[in-house]
Subunit: 301 residues, 2 copies
Amino acid sequence: MSLQYLRIFNYIDAIARSGSIRKAAEALFITPSALDRRLQDLEDDLGAVLFERHARGMRPTAAGELFLKHARHQRADYERLRTDIGHLQGLHRGTVNIAASQALAFSLFPDVITQFRQGNPGINFSVRICDHTSVIQSLRDFEADLGLVYNVQPSADISPLLEVEQRLCAVMAESHPLAQQPDLRMRDCLRYPLALPDVSLGGRMLLDAFFARSSLSPNVVLESNSFEMLRNFVRGNDAVSFQIQVGTALARVQDGVTARHVDDRGLGSRPLTLAQLKGRHLPLPAMRFAQTLSEVLSEAE
Amino acid sequence: MSLQYLRIFNYIDAIARSGSIRKAAEALFITPSALDRRLQDLEDDLGAVLFERHARGMRPTAAGELFLKHARHQRADYERLRTDIGHLQGLHRGTVNIAASQALAFSLFPDVITQFRQGNPGINFSVRICDHTSVIQSLRDFEADLGLVYNVQPSADISPLLEVEQRLCAVMAESHPLAQQPDLRMRDCLRYPLALPDVSLGGRMLLDAFFARSSLSPNVVLESNSFEMLRNFVRGNDAVSFQIQVGTALARVQDGVTARHVDDRGLGSRPLTLAQLKGRHLPLPAMRFAQTLSEVLSEAE
DNA sequence: CCGAGCGTTGCCGAAAACGCAACGCTTCAT
DNA sequence: ATGAAGCGTTGCGTTTTCGGCAACGCTCGG
């Protein structure tokens, strides 16, 4: 697949990722000696040391960081060239690489990707679910074309493509008493035990801010960094969990779990942001998917 | 110097430039067969034909154009990486590649470059003098970091860094009667034979526009695409030539030739534009030189 | 109709990349 | 303290890639 012109870039990148020549060599299916020689040749040619040698392994120097950025950028650009040439020949194929926080894995992405692929078969997807900071880092490392994060702080090298305000939803079992009401207030929810996402997940910040200003005292019986776990938990009892809107599939019931808007004045809302690395030229499939995603998110509002 | 990772890029670029494998191979100091094989390997890997084969030579296909753009971009980026790493190590070296139209070769660049190198020894320059369209094309082909052109039409992929309005100057021999007057009107000049730049050079458009609206009839005894030639011509007789301001070294006399502002209401002015390719990340030396150039041009106003 | 110029191919030598085994070194646990 | 476990690195033989040489088939222009 990928040409050997960027072989050296993969080599160096592998060393940086694994932090050692031996591990990198193993991942690349070559011997450490060969890898070491390529690195030495490169350092000779550049006239600069790219890695600090420690007894434990390798750590990139400043020059190494520069080279790594170049290497990753170059690899991403080459991928774009390939898909662009493919488009030129009428075969609309390619891969869209997305990094997103966990809330979106459950319902949004499966649905939108299915919809997108109906209009664009031949486009494959690689979705990496991780926490907020990793999403932005994936963009910086050229591992992802698009990032979708909740409540992200603005950054100089990230350019937002779309922002959608996200209200909070309460998640509960289908048979839960609260499921009968169309709209909920927070004080209704607090009569039940709570299963909350922890701080690494979106929405928790909204809850904490609300509790801080409120006299209501929550009864938190479960805290987790897994939405999957929270959903499975509330299905079996009368506990209530919370999640941002797009992850919940509001109207319909799924696996015995449903969701309702929580409407409180004291409850703020934070934006869900679709973003890319500033200055990057995205592959055509990624741009199209960003367009589709924008439409879906806008009309869902 | 340059690593062999971008060897293939140079190969393909050479083919495109020379329009034939044999000529490209000669320029690369290899045999046509070797070059042909690299091209075939590349086309195999990309799954696309990059050149149309004609009996006379090779012409890039659409996919080939795409690849060429990528290749040139990649090469320029790699150069930037090298100079950036150099800066990291304290050795401030590198090359600034400039493309500019002819008017600027005479006095502006030699002076500014001399001044710049006093503050930044170790920075080398490559200045390519060519006509308007070639300047922009050089930016597009990543042959030049900066372009300086007179009266350029805006373009979507070019971003201007600075624009300075340029008035027209009359150029004449030191001993010319008009050289006694501090300010000239166009009708004064037209009493003498004229040596005009042709349409490929800046300023001619202003003159043509003026003559079209005026009842005055010019006596054009010489027309040339070389400012050098025009200057040398007017030195030996009473003819008058025209040039934009920055190229003339207004106050001082150089080689027996001097210049004066021409002040007419009917005479417009067009901007001299310093530009780069949009979205490009310029090497540090180029950015610094652009800064210096901006200051010089602004204060000269 | 022939020669000039082109891209292309088969075959062989040269050069670059790789694998293997071993060395010197630091770190950590016994 | 001391041996084991990692680590980067080196010498040397092997494999893969790349380039040179000569020749072929082709298209065009005189």
